[in-house]
Structure formats: C-alpha cells, structure tokens
C-alpha cells in the first residue's frame, strides 16, 4: 500500500516530466529549420522501485531528452557538401573558360585566334600571287599584328580568370580561419559542458559550422574521446586539433595563390569545397590551356621567322624575323613595314614569289607537336569543351549524392511537424490526466483530513 503523499509526489514528478517532454517538442518545432539541429527525442524509462518500510510507491518515469543524431551520417553530409561545392566551383570556372572559345553561328570561335591565323596565311597567299603589290604588303602586316593581338588578348582573358580564382582562394582561406576558430571554441565548450542539454546545443552548432567549413574546403574528421572533433585537410594538415585552431595563410607563387598550413605549402593536397575547386580548375584546365596557347604561339612565330629569314625582301636583302616575344602573352610584330616580308626565294629576282608560297604553305605544315596550327587550336577547343562537359556531369552527380546524404540524415535527425503535432497532443493529454489526478488527490486529501471531525475544512 502506498501513501497519499507518495502518490502526490509521484503525480508531481510526472507533471514535471511532461513539462520536459513538452519543452523538447517546443524546441523541435522552433528549431525545425535550424542548420545542424538534431531533433530532441524524449525517452521515458521506468524507474527502479524503491521500498520504504516494505511499501512500494508508484514511480513516475525518468524522462531524458536525447539529441538524435548519427555522427556517420553527419560526416557523410559534410563530405558530400565538400564535393558538391568543389564541383560547382570547377563547373563555374570551366564555363567561363569555354566561353572564351565559344563558336558563333558563322563558325568563328570567339577568341579570334583561328580567323587571325587564317587571315595571316591568306595574306601570304595573295602575296605569293602579287609579290610586288603594296596594298598586299599592308594587308600582310595588319594580318600579322592581328595574330599577335588575338593571342595576347586571349591570354589576358585567361589571366583574368586565374586572378578571379586566386581571389576566391584568398577569400575562402579568410572564411576558413573564421570557421575553424569558432569550431575550436565550441570544442572547448563541449569538453567542459556540465549538462547534456548544453552539450547537445553546442554539438548542433558545431555540426552546422563543420558543414559550412566543408563548403569551403574538404575536411577529414576525427572524434576525440573527450567529445571534441579534430579537423584535418584531405592531405592531413591540421585545421582544428581539440581546442586549438590552426590558421591557414596564403602566398603568391608564380602568380598563383598558394595555401600555407603551419609553414608547409598544402595547395596541391587541398580538395573539396570552393577552395579545392578553385585550385583544381586554376592549376588544371586553365593552366594547361594557357600552356598549349603558349606552345602554339611559339611554334607559329618560329616557323614564320625561319621561312622569312630564308627569303629575299623587295630590296634584295635577306629577310629578318617578323615576330618576337615569349609565349602567347608576349608575342608581338617587330616590324613596322610590309616590306619586311621576304616574298622572293633565293635564286629569284626581286619580284619572285617562291618564299611567299613557302610562308603560305605553313598553314598545312605540322609545326605544333606533329599538328598543324589549326589542328592544335582545335585540340585546345575540344579539350576545353570536354573538360566543361565532365564538370557538368560531376556537378550533377555531386548534387545527387548530397541530396541523398541529406535525406538519409533527415530521416534520423530531421524534425517532422506531423510527428511533433502528434507528440504535442500526446503530452498534452498526459499532462491533463496528471493535473486531473492532482485535483482528485486534493479532494481526497481534504476528505482524509476531515475524517472524524464535525466541522468541514
């Protein structure tokens, strides 16, 4: 037999547990859209009975509020976020790159290099048909200048794109440092947290921050026994170790921004996130396109100069170099007169055209690694297009993976308004029942107190 007081205490305890459950439900509903929040689940476990003087009293259950999360799913979402952000950054960079060479309705590619090269060789052709025409020579000079300027301006476009990516890396590193110091502070709070509710709240915030960080750079997570999480880059450089964060810095190497972690250059090892994507696009497709343009420019200048130097100019003297400068950035026409083109061959008079024929024949010559100039340019165009196409596929796959990972985590940790509504009703009814019980107990108490007395209380 249990005492009335015992029942009273039990009912009061039950009311308190119901309040706890109601507040957990309120938390869930108000944090439904908060990033990193894991739904709070109320578990009611039966208490061990305690006997006092041989009588066992009714026991209200113990309510504990647990944040329902699966660290594995959290990590997979972070990883998918990093891949998705990286793929998006690469796609955006490659779309800008392929715009430089886009083909218009008339078949001209927009960098102008193809039509400039064709224009130059056409001018050489008409020079071979009319070696002494002064208008032909003016045209030839203009055509040479067009080739040089189209190569230079395309290089300028690519450099500008590289600069944009460099800025993205610098901005990204600043943001990473802000996030890692916040995460380190949260780690500290988690280690010293005294109660479960505080701890869970800090873990919610930290999960959201780690996801934000993953959007910037891909990280590997290691859970420590004290509850803190250490974060490393994919190549193993430490970003957050326990309560300490290690800041990244940037430096410029050969015009490209490199990332330094604890004194070591980690640029090549960074992958994932917008920083990883920017570095991958810059040092990959963008750099290789520039290299191939440089090779094309160098081979062209060399070929033209060599043939020109083998011929005779109108005044009978030997031809000189037409182009000078290194790479596609520096190629320039060194002559100011169309007379610099040596149209006559050795053994011909000053009106000969054999060397001009040779200059025109360079259009089909295999001067760039076994390819003609047009073939080399078309190889650049197709590789840029192919890279952009792969980037599109990769971005689509990464987005799908992220969605799936997000769904899997939502299934465990997400707040469903329907569930919360049902729980709310359940706890509300339970509370009403307990409250009713208390008021019944109250009147029973009054009766008990009034037993055997004449006057009513």
């Amino acid at each position: 037999m249990s005492s009335l007081i015992g029942i009273f205490h039990s009912a009061r305890e039950a009311l308190r547990q119901d309040q706890l459950a109601l507040s957990a439900t309120t938390d869930n509903i108000s944090n439904q859209n908060t990033a990193g929040y894991a739904k709070r689940v109320v578990t009611l476990t039966g208490r061990d009975t305690v006997s006092l003087s041989g009588a066992a009293g009714p026991q209200a259950p113990v309510a504990s509020v647990i944040a329902q999360r699966d660290p594995t799913l959290d990590r997979s979402v972070a990883a998918a976020t990093a891949s998705s952000a990286s793929a998006a950054a690469v796609l955006s960079a490659l779309n800008s790159l392929q715009n430089v060479f886009s083909i218009g309705a008339s078949g001209d590619e927009s960098s102008g290099i193809n039509s400039a090269l064709s224009g130059f060789f056409s001018a050489m052709r008409s020079l071979s048909a009319n070696p002494t025409s002064s208008s032909g020579r003016t045209t030839a000079l203009a055509a040479a200048q067009t080739v040089a300027s189209s190569l230079r301006s395309t290089t300028a476009l690519l450099s500008a794109q590289a600069d944009t990516l460099n800025s993205a890396v610098v901005d990204g590193v600043t943001a990473v440092n802000a996030k890692t110091s916040q995460i380190a502070a949260l780690n500290g709070s988690i280690i010293t947290a005294t109660n479960r509710a505080d701890r869970d709240a800090y873990i919610d915030q930290r999960t959201a921050l780690v996801e934000d960080l993953s959007r910037l750079v891909g990280v590997q997570q290691a859970v420590n026994s004290d509850g803190s999480v250490s974060l490393f880059t994919t190549s193993g450089a430490g970003l957050v170790v326990g309560k300490t964060s290690h800041a990244l810095s940037t430096t410029v190497v050969n015009g490209a921004t490199h990332v330094i972690a604890e004194g070591t250059d980690v640029t090549a090892g960074l992958s994932g996130g917008s920083i990883g994507g920017a570095i991958s696009a810059r040092d990959g497709a963008l750099a290789s396109t520039q290299t191939r343009l440089d090779t094309l420019a160098g081979a062209f200048a060399n070929a033209v100069n060599t043939v020109n130097q083998a011929g005779k100019k109108v005044d009978g003297s030997a031809g000189g170099a037409i182009f000078a400068g290194t790479g596609a950035a520096g190629i320039a026409v060194v002559t100011t007169s169309g007379d610099a083109f040596a149209a006559a061959g050795q053994g011909e008079g000053n009106g000969g055209s054999a060397n001009a024929d040779a200059l025109a024949a360079l259009q089909s010559a295999l001067q760039v690694g076994g390819m003609s100039f047009a073939d080399a340019l078309s190889a650049i165009v197709s590789s840029v297009g192919t890279a952009a196409a792969s980037a599109q596929t990769a971005a689509a796959v990464a987005t799908a993976t992220l969605t799936q990972a997000g769904l899997a985590r939502e299934a465990v940790s997400g707040v469903s308004l329907d569930t919360e509504a049902a729980n709310l009703t359940q706890y509300q009814r339970s509370y009403e029942a307990e409250a009713k019980l208390l008021s019944v107990l109250d009147s029973i108490f009054a009766s008990a107190i009034n037993i055997g007395t004449q006057t009513a209380v």
Partner: protein
C-alpha cells in the same frame, strides 16, 4: 522519416536545373548553333575550327588562282599580238629574199620590219598590275632595253619563271623573256635588226635570215602554248577549289547547326515538366498535422 524541408530543397534544385535547360535550348534556337557552349559537343567544336581554317584556305587559294589567271591571260594576249606581228614579219622577209626587188621596195620593207620590231619590243615589255610579264622574276623593271645608238636590244630580266604553288605543284605563271624572245644575238630582235640592216644596205635577205625569223615565230608559238597549259591547269585548280570550298561549307553547316525541330520539342517538354514540378512544390507546402489539430 521524410520531412518537408529536404523534399522541398531537392525539388527546387530540379526546378532550377530545368530552368537552366530551357535557357540553353532557347539560346541554341536563337543563335542557330549548339556550339555556343562548347561542352554541348566538343568534337563538333573542334571540327568547326578545322573546317573554318580549311574554308579560309580554299578561299585564299581561289583568289590567288584568279589573280594568276588574269596575269596569264594578259601574257597570252600579248603573245597573241606578237604572233601576228612576227607572222607578218616572216611574210615580209620572204618577199625581201627576192633578189629582184627595187631599192625603194627594200627600203619600204625595212621600214615595215622596223615598225614590227618596235611593236614586238613594246609587247615584250608588257606589264600587268604594275609588274612586267616577260621579265622572269625581276618584274620591277622593263626587261627589254633598246640601245638608242646601236639599236641592239638587251635583256635585263632574269631567267627564272614565276611560279604559283598549288596543292604541292608549282605552276609557271609567267615566262622569262629570254625563253620567249631569245637573248642577245640569237633573239628575235637581233634577227629583225639583222634583216633591217641587210635591206637598208640594198641586199636581199638570205635564207638563213628568213629561217631565223621563222624560228623566232615558232619559239613564241611554243611558249604561248606552254602558257596555255598553265592557264588550263589554273582553271582546273579553280574548279577543284570551288567544289572543295562548297563541300567544306556544307560540312561546317551540318556540324555546327542546331536541329530546330528537335529543340522546339525539347523546349516544350522541359516547360511542361517544369510547370508540373512547380505544382508539386506548391502542393507540398500545403499544411501539416497542425492544421488539423
């Protein structure tokens, strides 16, 4: 369990992908080419670059051929006139070989031969577009110069024929003056001068002198037919290049062009899909259990 938030973000991502697809299709329809974005067909883009270059090359070749053809035609016309003059000269020389001509007749013949010689000289110094046709590759100056005192004609050009290289073969586009008219004492000018001197001396022309003039005429005829061969080869090259250019342009159009009918179908399919998706999104947003409690 599935919650509204994730479904919504997934569907919104799909809706924006469909919007992007619609924008791309519209762009292809308006520009008429799908290669504005290289990634749509990188191989076709590469082909277009090569084709553009080949088309420009064919066009330049055509211009060069036309230019050479004009030059060859001018040379042929000049040689035609030379042919006529020298034919007349041979006829005159034959009558000049008659021993019974009077001094006055011989004098008249000499004058006619003189005017033929001047005429042929002027034709030998023909130029086209500012460059001399029979100077070999020294086309900047008149190739034949008559000495005012001795009347001898000297050749100042060179012996190299101008050529145009077409599809790997060198086509002569001009003739060296010495090949057509001979040089120094063996030139047709010398033969004419020789005959004029003989006639002015009151003598009849010898058989050798008439033969010399005949040989000169024959050389001109032979060289003119060589030029005719060049003209024919140039015409062939022109026809071939024209056909080549047409084929290349057709190829480029088919490589780069967008298929309007297919695109229009894709566009309407994408639009339908997107509006269906947007309706689903709208329905998802409607309500939870809270509305019913």
């Amino acid at each position: 369990m599935r919650t509204g938030a994730t479904d919504l973000s997934g569907l919104l991502a799909q809706a924006s992908a469909l919007s992007a697809q619609q924008a791309e299709i519209t762009r292809q329809l308006s520009t008429g080419t799908r290669l504005g974005t290289l990634s749509n067909d990188p191989v076709a883009a590469a082909d277009t670059v090569r084709l553009s270059s080949s088309i420009a090359q064919a066009s330049a070749t055509l211009s060069a051929v036309q230019s050479a053809q004009s030059r060859v035609q001018a040379a042929d016309a000049a040689l035609g006139s030379v042919n006529d003059r020298l034919t007349a000269a041979v006829a005159q020389a034959i009558s000049g070989a008659n021993g019974t001509l009077s001094a006055a007749n011989r004098s008249a013949l000499a004058t006619q031969l003189g005017s033929i010689r001047d005429s042929v000289l002027s034709l030998a110094n023909s130029s086209y577009n500012g460059s001399y046709l029979f100077a070999g590759t020294a086309t900047g100056a008149a190739p034949f110069n008559k000495d005012a005192v001795t009347g001898e004609v000297a050749y100042l050009g060179d012996a190299v024929a101008s050529t145009l290289v077409l599809y790997g073969a060198a086509l002569p586009t001009s003739l060296a003056g010495t090949t057509v008219f001979g040089n120094g004492p063996s030139s047709v000018f010398s033969a004419l001068q020789d005959a004029i001197t003989t006639l002015n001396n009151g003598d009849a022309l010898s058989t050798a002198q008439v033969t010399a003039l005949r040989d000169g005429l024959q050389t001109v005829i032979d060289q003119r037919s060589l030029l005719g061969t060049s003209a024919a080869r140039l015409e062939d090259a022109s026809t071939y290049t024209n056909t080549l250019q047409t084929n290349l342009k057709t190829a480029q159009t088919s490589v780069a062009a967008s298929d309007t009918a297919a695109l229009a179908t894709e566009l309407s399919a994408a639009a339908t899909q997107r509006s269906a998706l947007l309706s689903s999104i709208a329905m998802l947003g409607k309500g939870s259990l809270f509305d019913y409690l």
